[in-house]
């Protein structure tokens, strides 16, 4: 057991490919291994994400939840979703920002320690999406707090979210 742990730690075991029967080709897995190197180097194997729903329809949240299921299993790369913004490196925001969530979003942003990255995830969070122009939404996260990166899609599939995070990390270095 101990030997196994040591072997994995020092051998820097790479991402395993996706379980059989699921979409997610070996290439997708390879892309993730590149992401893992980045996380290892910049974030010391620990990238912590706080997800904030700012009025989304709930599809984006389920895709984020899917990232932690055994198929995508994002935790094996050192990425995880945390319960408090105080523990987070990244704020992942979904939804067009409904006016009644604006204050809560600002407060969450202030509570996140610097350096922090803000990712707008999903079409609504970029420009309001289908809700663009409604009186009760702010037409995108960028109108409320500074955004570093966008992940388009309605909703972006788990693989697209992982790719988006990779692209963001490439930009960071």
């Amino acid at each position: 057991m101990l030997r196994e742990i040591l072997k994995n730690t020092f051998g820097r075991k790479k991402a395993i490919s996706f379980p059989e029967g699921f979409t997610g080709s070996p290439e997708d897995a390879a892309k993730i291994s590149a992401l893992q190197e980045k996380i290892d180097r910049i974030f010391r194997r620990s990238l912590r994400i706080r997800q904030v729903d700012a009025g989304s329809c709930n599809a984006c949240e389920w895709e984020c939840t899917a990232l932690t299921n055994p198929v995508y299993d994002i935790q094996r790369f050192g990425i995880d979703f945390v319960a408090s913004p105080r523990h987070a490196d990244v704020l992942l925001i979904t939804g067009p920002v409904s006016r009644q969530m604006e204050l809560a979003l600002r407060k969450t942003y202030t509570a996140t320690p610097e350096p922090r990255l803000v990712v707008a995830c999903g079409d609504c969070s970029i420009d309001g999406g289908v809700y663009k122009g409604s009186y009760a939404v702010a037409n995108g996260v960028a109108n409320i707090i500074p955004v570093n990166f966008l992940i388009p899609g309605c909703p972006p599939s788990p693989i697209r979210i992982i790719e988006g995070l990779l692209a963001m990390l490439n930009k960071v270095s």
Partner: protein, 522 residues
């Protein structure tokens, strides 16, 4: 029933909808008569601003009676000089939220309503501003201040529980997990929840008003995004309303595809929900297994329709892709899932620590469920035999052989078992759908939308019944879209279910209801 018809000004029948106009003073009596003597269920209640058509506001209350495939739509007209109407809430508690919502959105006053605090709008929304009125405008500065949330223009009074040993625990709107925003205020005695007051509508996106700026076809995209995991049911109900207005009859093939996808949507939700309940009891292996099955079904959805949430497939008059051609793929995935699902349920039912947590937790009694007008899995788990697929057969549901599963216990375990039985039922329905062949093209002939016509659209989502009431304007656009998602009916029941439970059991109670915030908040 006869009493209502005797007093009405006039009645009109459209398909299975019976519109009954009554005088304002008779509104209460008519509704109470239907409710008490006819055992009718209040399906949805809403207002419209028809001042530009005939100079009045209108209030509609839609009832349906068990065993009759008819909707009784009782409505009144309000002259703009007297904007009050008699409240139904005292006699029909299910009207509670509807009346508060009408008060917020239209400024019509339900007289005698016990609780007229703002339901939809939070503290910094300008009082006296009613977005669903046709002539409504708002100043840019008011909108900005609404978002900033600093000025308390209409402070909300939470119910306070006073007494020795009472602790107040505020939670949210930003929660610890990856879930939607809502604020909960617990008044607890030690660990036991004495009272819970949810404050929702954080995700209010002005959807109903936004519909009015769109055309009929564009509306589908918005209907799909009202509640993410019920995308297909919502768009089906919306399309159904539009098709009924235009008098479009669906082809057999389109009906089959819609029925199939509705059942696939139910399946992935139910299995995912049962898995999620395990997260509430700390049964990690159950959660993981549920998530794997859900992922299989989601990836099947993607192969079938190009969207993991079954979006972009419904059109007015039919569907855009012939899913029936992909029989082999569906059958392979269903066979795999069925096998996994059996082992999964065996695991859950044989796990003492899981069962211990969910049995007799979060009980919702039949009496309360009935009074609050809850719907779907929640209603059936509390012993109310109500399923829109049975009560108002549409698509191919009148031809399919299926049962409505009910249990009387009303606890978290009951809700899990109702889901489990319905999931099995959905699998067998998909199998039987493939036994026959269906004629016709994918879409029926397009017809012009008639002016100023209205109709209901409805279906059973995984959470319960969804209703759309759509009215067209003079040019064939959308005049008013009212939708009522199942979560809107079920949220008021959550405080009753958690009363007397311990605070750590709240997440599991909440997960067993699995309500959508976005769908409820509109």
């Amino acid at each position: 029933m006869e009493k209502v018809l005797k007093r009405c000004i006039h009645t009109k029948r459209y398909l299975n909808e019976v519109y009954i106009e009554v005088r304002k003073q008779d509104f209460q009596d008519a509704c109470i008569d239907l409710y008490q003597n006819g055992a009718a269920i209040l399906r949805v209640m809403f207002a419209t601003d028809e001042r530009q058509i005939d100079g009045t506001f209108k209030i509609y209350a839609v009832f349906s009676m068990p065993g009759r495939d008819e909707f009784f739509v009782v409505y009144i007209s309000l002259e703009p000089d007297d904007l009050s109407f008699p409240a139904l809430t005292y006699n029909i508690p299910a009207a509670h939220w509807y009346e508060r919502e009408i008060h917020d959105m239209f400024g019509l006053v339900p007289e005698g309503h016990p609780d007229l605090r703002s339901l939809v709008f939070h503290d910094s929304f300008p009082p006296g501003s009613h977005p669903l009125r046709k002539d409504w405008t708002i100043k840019e500065s008011d909108l900005r201040e609404w978002g900033e949330g600093v000025l308390k223009k209409q402070p909300y009074d939470f119910m306070e529980v006073a007494g020795e040993g009472i602790t107040e625990i505020p939670v949210g709107p930003v929660h610890a997990g990856i879930i939607e925003p809502g604020h909960f205020r617990f008044s607890a005695v030690g660990e036991t929840i004495f009272f819970l007051e949810p404050r929702l509508f954080y995700t209010h996106k002005g959807t109903e008003k936004h519909f009015e700026t769109l055309g009929f076809s564009e509306g589908i995209k918005l209907a799909e995004r009202v509640s993410g995991t019920s995308s297909f049911s919502h768009s089906s109900a919306y399309c159904m309303a539009a098709e009924r207005i235009a008098g479009i009859a669906l082809t057999e093939k389109a009906k089959a595809v819609r029925t199939l996808l509705l059942e696939l949507e139910r399946l992935y939700n139910h299995i995912g929900d049962i898995g999620n309940m395990c997260a509430g009891t700390g049964l990690a292996v159950g959660y993981a297994k549920g998530a794997v099955m859900k992922e299989r079904l989601m990836q099947l959805n993607e192969r079938l329709t190009g969207s993991r949430y079954l979006r972009g497939i419904n059109t007015i008059g039919g569907v855009s892709r012939d899913i029936m051609l992909m029989r082999d793929d569906i059958m392979t995935v269903l066979d795999t899932v069925t096998g996994e699902y059996k082992a999964f349920m065996k695991l859950l039912l044989g796990n003492v620590s899981h069962r211990e947590r969910i049995e007799s937790t979060g009980r919702l009694s039949r009496a309360i469920a009935l009074r609050l007008g809850v719907t779907g899995v929640t209603a059936r788990a509390s012993g109310i035999n109500d399923d829109i697929r049975r009560a108002h057969p549409h698509l191919l549901y009148d031809r399919l052989n299926f049962e409505t599963h009910t249990t009387a216990k009303g606890d978290v375990f009951a809700r899990m078992m109702v889901r489990a039985e319905e999931a099995e039922c959905s699998i067998s329905m998909v199998h039987s759908l493939f036994e026959s062949s269906y004629s016709g093209g994918l879409t029926a002939d397009r017809k012009e939308m008639p002016a100023l016509c209205s109709a209901l659209g409805y279906t059973e989502t995984p959470r319960g019944s969804v209703f759309y009431w759509v009215k067209s304007d003079e040019k064939g656009g959308l005049f008013r879209v009212k939708f009522r998602s199942p979560s809107y009916c079920n949220w008021p029941a959550v405080p009753f279910a958690v009363h007397g439970n311990i605070v750590p059991d709240f997440p599991i109670c909440n997960k067993s209801f699995n309500l959508s915030y976005s769908g409820c908040d509109m």
